[in-house]
Structure formats: C-alpha cells, structure tokens
Point group: C2
Chain length 376, copies 2
C-alpha cells in the first residue's frame, strides 16, 4: 500500500507554505518543527519540506524547491530581502512545486481567503484557522468547495471555530454518518466567556460592566479595540460556518440577528481607548440586564444558537439556570452543545479553551497531519 505503491526509492515529499507569523503563526511554526522532527524519525513517513514563509511585508522562500531549514526561520524572515510575492505569484510558485503542497494560512486576511479557490483548483491543499473564507459570502464558500472537489485538493479549517477543540470534525462526523442535527448552542467567544463569567458569576455579584471590559482588555482577552469583540461579528462568523456545515444556506454573517453590546452612541467614537473611557455611562443598562436575570434565579450569558428545523440563528444575551453547563463555564472557555436525533435530550458537549495561540495552532497542526496522511 502506502509503501509499496511508491515508484520512487526516496520517501514522498510534501511541500508546506506558511502565510502569517503572528500569535497563531508563531506557535504553529514551533509545532511544525516538532512534526518535522517526529516524521524524520520514522523512515516510512513522508518528508516535509518547508518551501515558503511569509507575512504581510516579508517573505523567505526557496526558488529551487529544496526546502528551507527550520532553524532561525523567524529571524531569517525578518532579515530577508527577497521581493514579496503577490498571492497569484504564490499560487504559481506552489503549482510548479515538484510534489504536492499544502498552504497554511495563519492570517485573518479576507484577501488571502478570497484566493483559496485559486490555490485549490491548482491542487494545492489549504489548512487554516482563518474564518473569512468560510463565513463571508456564500459564493466564496461554494467556490472553495467546488474547486476542492474538482481538483481533489483538500481544505481543513478546524480552528475557525473553538480553536483546537474538536468542533468542526465532530459536526462533520455527525452529519456525514447521517445523524440529524436539531440544535447547536454554546459560548463561542473566549472574550465573551471571560466577560460574562466575571460580570455575572454563578457565585458572587461580579464587577461593573465597564470595569470587566477594561480588565479583559488589560489581560489581553480582547482585540486591541474591544468593540471588535463586543459587536458579536466574531460569534456570528462561527455560527455561519457551523450552519453551512449542517447544510443551511446562510448568505453572510449579517443575514441573521446579532445583538451588539456596543451602545449605539459609542459606535463611532474614534478608538478603543476613547470607547473604554465613555463606557461607564452605560453600566446601568448592563446592570439592569444582570439584575433581571438574577430576579429569575439565573445568570446572563452571551451565546449563539442554530435551530435547524426553523433555520433560526441567534446571537446575543440569554439567561441560564445557575446549574446549566453554559452558566458554570469558567475563565475564557468555550462550550458547544450538539443536540441531535441520536444523542437525544443529552447533547454531545465539547468544552475548553477556545482561543490562544497554542491551542489554535494545535487545530491547524492537527488538520495538517490529516492532509499529510491522506497524501501518503
């Protein structure tokens, strides 16, 4: 089989190109080096060859396709004077590679995601935590999977929902084996999880809303401008991905109701710091929300849900009994519950850190291993 089919004496080569070396990208590079070393130990494993590493304004790549050494790759990228390749040039470069290649997109760039169909139609496999390709227009989603099915190239994006947690693989298994998805519900944002677990804890009273948002920012749990978390778009994108995997034709992440936690008056203030300065004026509103939940014996949480039968997607505040798994979440954990016909009243639940460089990179590395295995 794998070993005897090969007509070459040398082990199979698989080329890797990586775009993006930020928080996730830098963790991924370490995991890739680990994988490379593990595979070198097994003579029957394919040989990984790192062809290209790029970030917005820098690139290092091997024009002769021999592969780059892993050592000091980051500093060699920073010191590189190679002319940056545009995306069509990267497509051409990988298309001309002497064996199969995998593009790892560790950016959150719409521009890169828009190019996935071009990579895939050339037989270049794509692995990414970037939500944009799968949660923007329905046309891009269709183009991606049509290109993949035509060329046989593969596209994996486990970390686009819940970072390294097995969310997308689990949903695909449920759907492909013929289970009927009834409802998916959960806390999909590490930032929102942290904010509400602190603001409205199951035990104790929590702090003021603006204080908790400021704390979350200071702990590094929010985007540089916290409004990029509070607008709910990140959660809406994740639900768009899951709903499409179930088969619902969701046109865009703005085609269903998403409750923004940005007061209308603060939508247009110039920056995140100014926003945080003004936010205390609205603490009373959020306090009302908290107290209303408490009066029902509940706590408020920011959740997303997909009800398949009615094609209904909701993102926003909801009250939960204090003993509900969503209420009892800790820290910045995500929790996702799959209610299905087979699992009945007792959903299949996956819970754990849903953000962070290492765990997000782990989802990418796990996908990469799946593609590598399938190419052997």
């Amino acid at each position: 089989m794998a070993q005897t089919d090969s007509s070459l004496a040398s082990p199979k080569q698989i080329h890797i190109a990586v775009i993006g070396t930020g928080g996730v990208g830098s963790c991924f590079m370490l995991q890739l080096e680990y994988l490379y070393k593990q595979m070198c130990k097994r003579p029957s494993s394919p040989k990984l060859s790192l062809l290209l590493v790029a970030r917005s304004s820098k690139i290092v790549y091997d024009q002769s396709y021999n592969g780059l050494p892993f050592e000091d790759i980051t500093s060699r990228l920073e010191n590189s004077d190679q002319t940056v390749l545009k995306l069509p040039e990267i497509v051409d470069y990988l298309t001309a590679a002497p064996s199969k290649s995998i593009l790892v997109d560790n950016t959150s760039s719409q521009e890169v995601a828009d190019f996935y169909p071009r990579f895939l139609e050339k037989g270049i496999n794509v692995v990414t935590p970037n939500k944009k390709g799968f949660s923007s227009s329905m046309k891009l989603w269709e183009d991606i999977f049509l290109a993949a099915s035509r060329s046989g190239a593969q596209v994996y994006h486990e970390s686009s929902v819940g970072a390294g947690l097995p969310i997308i693989s689990t949903l695909k298994d449920l759907v492909e084996t013929g289970d009927e998805i009834i409802k998916i519900e959960g806390v999909f944002s590490g930032t929102m999880s942290f904010l509400f677990n602190s603001f409205a804890p199951v035990n104790g009273s929590g702090g003021k809303w603006s204080t908790e948002v400021t704390n979350a920012k200071n702990f590094g749990f929010t985007e540089p401008d916290p409004r990029d978390d509070l607008n709910g778009l990140d959660v809406a994108r994740k639900l768009t991905i899951l709903a499409r995997l179930v088969g619902l034709p969701i046109q865009s992440p703005t085609s269903f109701p998403v409750q923004s936690l940005i007061p209308r008056e603060l939508e247009n203030v110039t920056d995140g710091n100014k926003f945080l300065q003004e936010l205390p004026r609205f603490d009373a509103e959020m306090e009302q929300v908290k107290v209303a939940a408490e009066n029902e014996g509940k706590v408020v949480r920011y959740v997303g849900s997909i009800t398949v039968a009615t094609n209904e997607i909701k993102v926003g505040l909801q009250n939960f009994d204090r003993s509900h798994p969503i209420a009892m979440l800790k820290g910045s954990d995500n929790i996702i519950s799959f209610y299905t016909k087979r699992y009945g009243n007792s959903p299949l639940i996956v819970q754990g850190a849903g953000a962070g460089g290492d765990v997000t990179a782990m989802g990418v590395s796990g996908d990469l291993i799946k593609v590598i295995k399938s190419l052997c």
Copy 2:
C-alpha cells in the same frame, strides 16, 4: 488528484466486510446503507461494495466479489445456508478481493481481535468498536500496529472508548501535535454513570444501592449479569487504551488497581439474578460510602484516571464537589477531561452518551469514512 490519478474510467471500488450484527452491528448496517446511498449520489465518490456479513453461526458473502445488495440483508443472513467461514478463510477471501477492503468488526470477541494482525498484514484495513484488540496483552497491541505500519493498512477504533464521542481522535491530535498530556480523568462507563447519578444525586438523597442496580438492569443499562459492569474491567480496558495512546506501556487491564463493586461474598454466586437477590445485604456498606462523601459536602462517583508523570492509573470510587462537572453528570453520560500543558488548568472536556447502539455505530461509521477518504 483523486479523480485524475485513476487509470480506470469507473469509480474506485472499496470492499466492506462486516462481522457482528447485534446491538451495534444492526445500527451500523443502517448507517452503512445511508453512506452507500450518499456516495452513489456523488459520481466522484468511490463505490462501496458490501462483500460479506457474518455473525457467530451465519454468513452471507459473494464469492464472485460483485457485492451484496443492502436490501433485506439481515433476513438474507438469517436464511443463508452458506457454510460459515473461519477467520483464516475470511482473511484469504478478503486478500483475494480485486480492490482494497475494510473489515468492520462489530463484535466484542477476543478471537476476532486476535486476528487483526493477520488482516492488517494482508493490507486489509480494520475499523471496530471492539475494545479487546487494544486493551488485552501489550503483545497484541504491538502486533496490530506493527502489521499496520508494514502493510500501510489502517486501523481505527474510536468507539472503543466513549462510543461515538470524539475521545480517541482528540487524544491522538493532542499527542501527535506535540502537546504534553498531564492527566486524563472521567466517567467512562454509561452504567456506572447512571448508577451513581441515581444513587448519589447532587440534589436529593437517591435510592438504596441494590435498588438502583436492579433499576439499571431493568432499564437495560447493565450487562445481563450486572457484575460484568460492577467489576470495573470495562473501565479498566478503556483506560488501558488511552494510556497506551499516550505512550505508557500498560501490560494489561489488570496490571493496575481496579476497585470492584462486587462484594467478595457474591463473586461466585451462580448468576446475575441470584447476585441481585443477595445484593441488599451489602446496602449498608455502600450507604456508608455515600454518607462519608456527604459529610465532606461531596458526592461519590466511579471514575478512572491516568496521571502520566507518575504512570499511575486508578479505577474506582472518588468523592467530588457538587459543582464539579463529574458530579453534575446526568443520565448515563460519559465525561472525559484532558488536562494538558497547552490547555493548562482548564481541561479540554468531551461529554455525552457513551453507550448505545446508534452512537457507538456512529463512531464506527465515522472511522469508516476516514479510511474510505484515505483510500481515494
């Protein structure tokens, strides 16, 4: 790629042989038929060909390798007068198949599991929920994976732990991407889960131990002889599998301490009914265990854990705070927590039904899809 590599005009054929048509096997056959129909809809998909279905004393198979129709397969098996093939004959039959084949073992037979190396060394892939191959002697485990690595055949056994829950795939992803497993802890038995959630509920006082065991048996949550659950061996087998996947060289499921809940005096009574009649004599002992936990403000549960650094595996009773996820489990759910270096103090948790024909078969079907994809 997949489509263009093929030198034949017709779609690739993949042969399936199924042994075992009991609770899991009968659910699996329905899911297999669903997969078959889905794949027929996609012209680029491989063609599944059902070659053989067998149970202990019956077999139906197609000597000319054209494949059996799915319709009424169960009644055709029951009415078949084909001479039952012995395992070496099934190996030979599948080895002579004109294209790649997958053996699905839906039995819990040690005899079939002992033959996995013979199937695998002939390039026949193996998919199974049967724990025996992976939790018996270390030699069998090694023979299985050595045979697989030599021939390139694959072996998947997701449902051997937690039924269809993504436990084994998650652990493999963690290990293969270089995370460090610190501890695995959980409730691994649907029977034990149901028993303790009823006997020592978080709210209320629960029933007598012997009453709860009798109820569990009447609800179909135990083996015909409840001692086969209460001896803890089922949980020990699951922990053996997980520990070996982490890299611990566990010789057998009896090479670490396992707390049996069968009173010594009742170990040798003739059958399960006699056992249940005698069990009330020991209610006071279990009541003491429950009260001792309550006096600490806790509840007692039957759990398993693997602590990697100390190579320590434990199976037995343990007390948990009432707000602990293990304490709050409902019904017959399993819960498995992975404590790892990357996930820190907040483990990756998977929870849900860990037993039942449909969800166990789902794990088998999910594995089957993975093998099929890799053969394309």
